[in-house]
């Protein structure tokens, strides 16, 4: 193949790709995904691409080398083909030389990537075993320099259901379990047995690594929390090293002046060394328990959403929005729990689909067990089902510029990560003419619009695909929806009143 390509063309591809590689300054999923696609498209010039990547690996500042490794990993797992043998020839020296150059915090990540290249269970190794063995041998030759993360012990047999059967006939998939393992180790939760069900068996194998990079992005972005440090309090003066368990068995402190004034040395450790893991961004700490890791993950998700929002607000005007009404505020926790549980039940009742409708039509054939999902005693069965259907509709967050609040209720559209779609999605959302609406709001407003004469902005709703669906499927007033979305009918009515 490559012999048919002229040298001049190879050089051109090489320099083009090298130029694109200069974008790889942070661990951004789209960049890695893009570069992987370019590599796939230029399969005929694979040697030039590999050469460019090698050159980039050598040129890149030490803290950016990890991103290049992730790109190699992505190409080798997603594109494979010629790249596997080409990288197999050079990866040993490339990996081991680079390994000694990167900052200590990246070394463990190098090891974990290497780990995913080994064979495991049904998954064949990415590179031939002799290549991996050679890397291992060379790394071992300089033991003093690779201490931060000792090579993990041989992994135990996977207890998770093997997803290999999910996509028969495709290339050997990247094992989701490994991806998870990679993820969890990267986020500092090393020793935990990987929870199996997070990556669904039906997931596209090709997108798994990109999924990883998306999540990694949240973990590795500068200023975004990274791995939990091993030492409880970095830089703590050694003379102050507290006894690890001090303060864990404090006698009950009563609210009396004497008790409050009494000095208790080491009491602060209940806030410090009792919580060894620390978020790099806001410095909040987490316990080293399973619970702590779960909370840490949830916390990272929050940072990710927040940082994303901040980035958005730098790009274009973000309205602040109105506060919740009193009733919404009172019910906020319940509504969130209900939304979560009904979504979960809907997803589990319709395996393989998730009600996503990119063209804005209602999922009409999926009246599953959703009605009993609300869990609210006031939520009557018939409405609950329609409402749950609406709520389960998702729209993949469009890449191009789009509205950030629902134009009807003016509430913020909140993107969530959808494991099945492997995309950021808006729940309870519908996309019409490049505008994202809350499905429930839009349904309500259309119903309203058919009742009242449309005027002003309402005219835009006429003749849209949803309009027909709604007329067939009128929804009654629904407590749940009204509560959560601040009674869109009322808001709209006010907006429409002269």
């Amino acid at each position: 193949m490559s012999s048919l390509v002229s040298n001049a063309e190879l050089r051109a591809v090489r320099s083009d790709y090298l130029a694109s590689l200069s974008d790889l300054i942070s661990n951004e999923r789209p960049v890695i995904k893009n570069l992987t696609i370019i590599a796939e498209e230029n399969l005929h010039a694979a040697p030039a691409i590999v050469d460019a990547i090698q050159a980039r690996m050598k040129q890149a500042p030490r803290h950016q080398k990890l991103h290049v490794l992730y790109l190699i990993d992505s190409i080798c797992k997603n594109v494979r083909r010629d790249y596997l043998s080409l990288f197999a020839d050079c990866i040993v020296s490339l990996f081991t030389t680079t390994y000694h150059q990167v900052p200590d915090k990246d070394k463990s990540r190098f090891c974990h990537v290497l780990d995913t290249w080994r064979s495991s269970g049904k998954r064949p190794p990415v590179f031939p075993p002799r290549v991996i063995a050679e890397i291992d041998r060379r790394l071992r030759q300089a033991p003093s320099r690779r201490t931060p993360s000792p090579m993990p012990a041989p992994r135990p047999p996977q207890s998770a259901p093997a997803p290999a059967s999910a996509q028969p006939g495709t290339q050997p998939p990247t094992n989701p379990v490994d991806v998870l393992k990679l993820l969890s180790t990267l986020s500092g939760v090393t020793s935990a047995p990987t929870p199996a069900p997070q990556v669904p068996a039906s997931a596209q194998p090709g997108s798994l690594t990109t999924n990883v990079s998306a999540l990694l992005q949240s973990l590795l972005n500068p200023g975004v929390p990274t791995a939990l440090p091993a030492s409880p309090i970095p830089g703590m003066p050694s003379h102050m090293t507290p006894p690890q368990n001090s303060g864990l068995d404090i006698a009950v402190i009563t609210l009396t002046n004497d008790d409050i004034q009494q000095k208790r040395p080491g009491l602060a450790e209940k806030l410090y060394s009792a919580y060894p893991g620390q978020c790099k961004q806001c410095a909040i700490r987490f316990r080293a328990t399973e619970d702590g890791k779960r909370q840490y993950q949830a916390h990272l998700d929050w940072h990710f959403r927040r940082n994303r929002r901040l980035k958005e607000s730098k790009r274009r005007a973000q309205p602040r929005g109105w506060f919740l009404s009193e009733q919404d505020w009172v019910d906020a926790r319940q509504l969130e729990a209900e939304a979560a549980s009904s979504a979960a039940i809907f997803e589990s009742s319709v395996p393989g689909t998730n009600g996503t409708n990119h063209d804005g039509t209602l999922p009409s054939d999926q009246h599953g067990s959703a009605a009993d999902g609300g869990g609210s005693p006031t939520n009557d069965e018939a409405n609950g089902s329609d409402d749950t259907l609406l709520r389960a509709m998702t729209v993949v967050v469009p890449a191009q510029q789009h509205n950030s609040v629902c134009p009807i209720c003016n509430e913020k559209l909140v993107g969530v990560w959808d494991d099945d779609e492997e995309e950021w999605v808006y729940r309870n959302a519908i996309l019409v003419d490049n505008t994202v609406y809350h499905a429930t709001c839009r349904t309500a407003s259309l119903r309203n619009a058919t009742a009242a004469k449309p005027q002003g902005s309402m005219a835009a709703f006429e003749g849209s695909p949803l309009a027909a669906g709604i007329k067939r499927k009128p929804l009654d007033d629904d407590d749940l929806r009204a509560k959560e979305y601040g009674t869109p009918e009322k808001r709209l009515a006010t907006a429409l009143s002269p």
Partner: protein
């Protein structure tokens, strides 16, 4: 004064205090060790920039700090009451743990003291320590002066899902839009002190308390974590009625008095027989400084600006909208009125302190802050004061000829409600 960076080393349990003028900025970085600002730990090598703030950076383990920029005051203090604050927190944490075990309710803490005793700082410390131990109490702000959560002249409550940001302070609560769970509930009061309209104040704390309790009924996590209630400076024996009302309506379990012996002894006497209520006194920190009127005014202006524009960490864009006089119903609250005896003979009082007076839109509205009430057109107008605020608008222009006002609004489009309340706060957009 100087822009070069200075390094300070704190020994364990020392505190670094700095004051930064509104016009200047100081940047703080933690170089080594641990340090916390009002209970929120500082992340190493992260830049914290302060402006118009008085900050105390405390270290339990000792640390090295790098300060850059112009501070009007900066020094290291050796004496702090932090160990007693930590004891108080630990006692509360033990109650929360017990409440979690028994499915009961966590502590409800009322922080009292004179103005400038460090009440808000103590509240922040207690909240941050709770959040660090994965408890998420609800913060109730009964100090309308500074507008900590949303806007001066409001009483508000918000669940503390995250740390109080060292830089954005309480306004970060209202700024975080990553979840509706964290949103605040605000009521319009319209004045800066509880004494300006005690009747309305009492009406609103009752209203706020009932909303909070309604939420706690279902919100188990918040119920077990309890409430932290911050107040304005209330030491006048005439205002004890308001304190008693607070204690009653919020079911307060602990009263903390900062730096005021007489208030402590009075409270102790009042509640000595009620076993459900503990009264403790705490020393005020040597770091608290008297904030003059000018500082408070600038802090209020900043709070208003933050409502519309967000902060450097979380920017928002307000929108301009034009509203016609006829679409709006604007009310104001009668403020402190002369006693009945002072009225001319034969005249009856026309309004009471918790009554609203409709007012005609006009040039008088210019530069005012109007509270957008959640009251909608189907509800009784007399309920307007008891309706929560869904937001605020700023009147940037009044056009008498066209009978319109131009407002700065937190979202684009027309106002969702026509009922507005005039606050006593004014703002000049700069």
């Amino acid at each position: 004064m100087t822009d070069e960076s200075k390094t300070y080393t704190l020994l364990p349990e020392q505190e670094f205090r700095l004051e930064v003028d509104f016009a200047s900025t100081a940047i703080v970085q933690l170089k080594s060790g641990t340090a916390e600002i009002f209970g929120a730990e500082l992340a190493p090598a992260t830049i914290y920039s302060f402006s118009g703030q008085k900050v105390a950076i405390f270290s339990w383990h000792g640390c090295t700090l790098e300060i850059q920029g112009a501070c009007s005051v900066q020094y290291v203090a050796e004496e702090t009451p932090m160990h007693s604050y930590l004891n108080l927190h630990t006692a509360l944490a033990q109650q929360r743990t017990a409440a979690t075990a028994s499915q009961g309710s966590g502590p409800v803490v009322l922080v009292l003291g004179p103005t400038d005793a460090g009440k808000s700082s103590l509240s922040k410390i207690l909240l941050n320590y709770a959040v660090r131990q994965q408890h998420h109490p609800i913060f109730v702000n009964l100090d309308p002066a500074e507008g900590s959560i949303a806007m001066p002249g409001t009483l508000s409550a918000a669940p503390m899902l995250h740390l109080v940001d060292p830089v954005d302070e309480f306004s970060a609560i209202g700024l975080d839009k990553t979840g509706e769970m964290a949103a605040p509930l605000c009521f319009h009061y319209g004045f800066a002190a509880s004494g300006d309209n005690p009747k309305l104040f009492r009406l609103l704390i009752t209203k706020l308390a009932s909303a909070v309790h309604a939420r706690l009924k279902h919100d188990t996590a918040s119920r077990q974590a309890g409430l932290i209630i911050d107040t304005g400076g209330t030491i006048d024996p005439n205002s004890y009625d308001i304190i008693k009302e607070c204690v009653d309506v919020f079911n307060v379990t602990a009263i903390v008095i900062l730096g005021h012996e007489r208030l402590y002894s009075d409270m102790n006497r009042l509640y000595t027989n009620s076993s459900a209520i503990s009264v403790v006194k705490l020393a005020k920190s040597g770091g608290v400084v008297n904030r003059d009127k000018d500082y408070l005014r600038q802090a209020q202006q900043r709070a208003i600006k933050k409502y519309f524009y967000g902060s450097a960490q979380c920017e928002y864009s307000p929108f301009s909208a034009i509203a016609w006089y006829q679409d709006l119903k604007i009310y104001r609250v009668e403020d402190s009125i002369a006693p009945t005896s002072a009225l001319p003979l034969g005249l009856d009082r026309k309004v009471s302190e918790t009554q609203t007076v409709p007012m005609d839109p006009g040039p008088i509205l210019l530069h005012s802050i109007l509270t957008v009430s959640s009251l909608d057109s189907t509800e009784d107008e007399s309920k307007i004061l008891e309706s929560s605020a869904i937001g605020f608008v700023y009147v940037s222009a009044v056009n008498e000829r066209k009978s319109t006002i131009t407002v700065l609004s937190p979202i684009p489009g027309r106002l969702p409600r026509k009922y507005l309340l005039l606050s006593s706060f004014k703002w000049m957009e700069m």
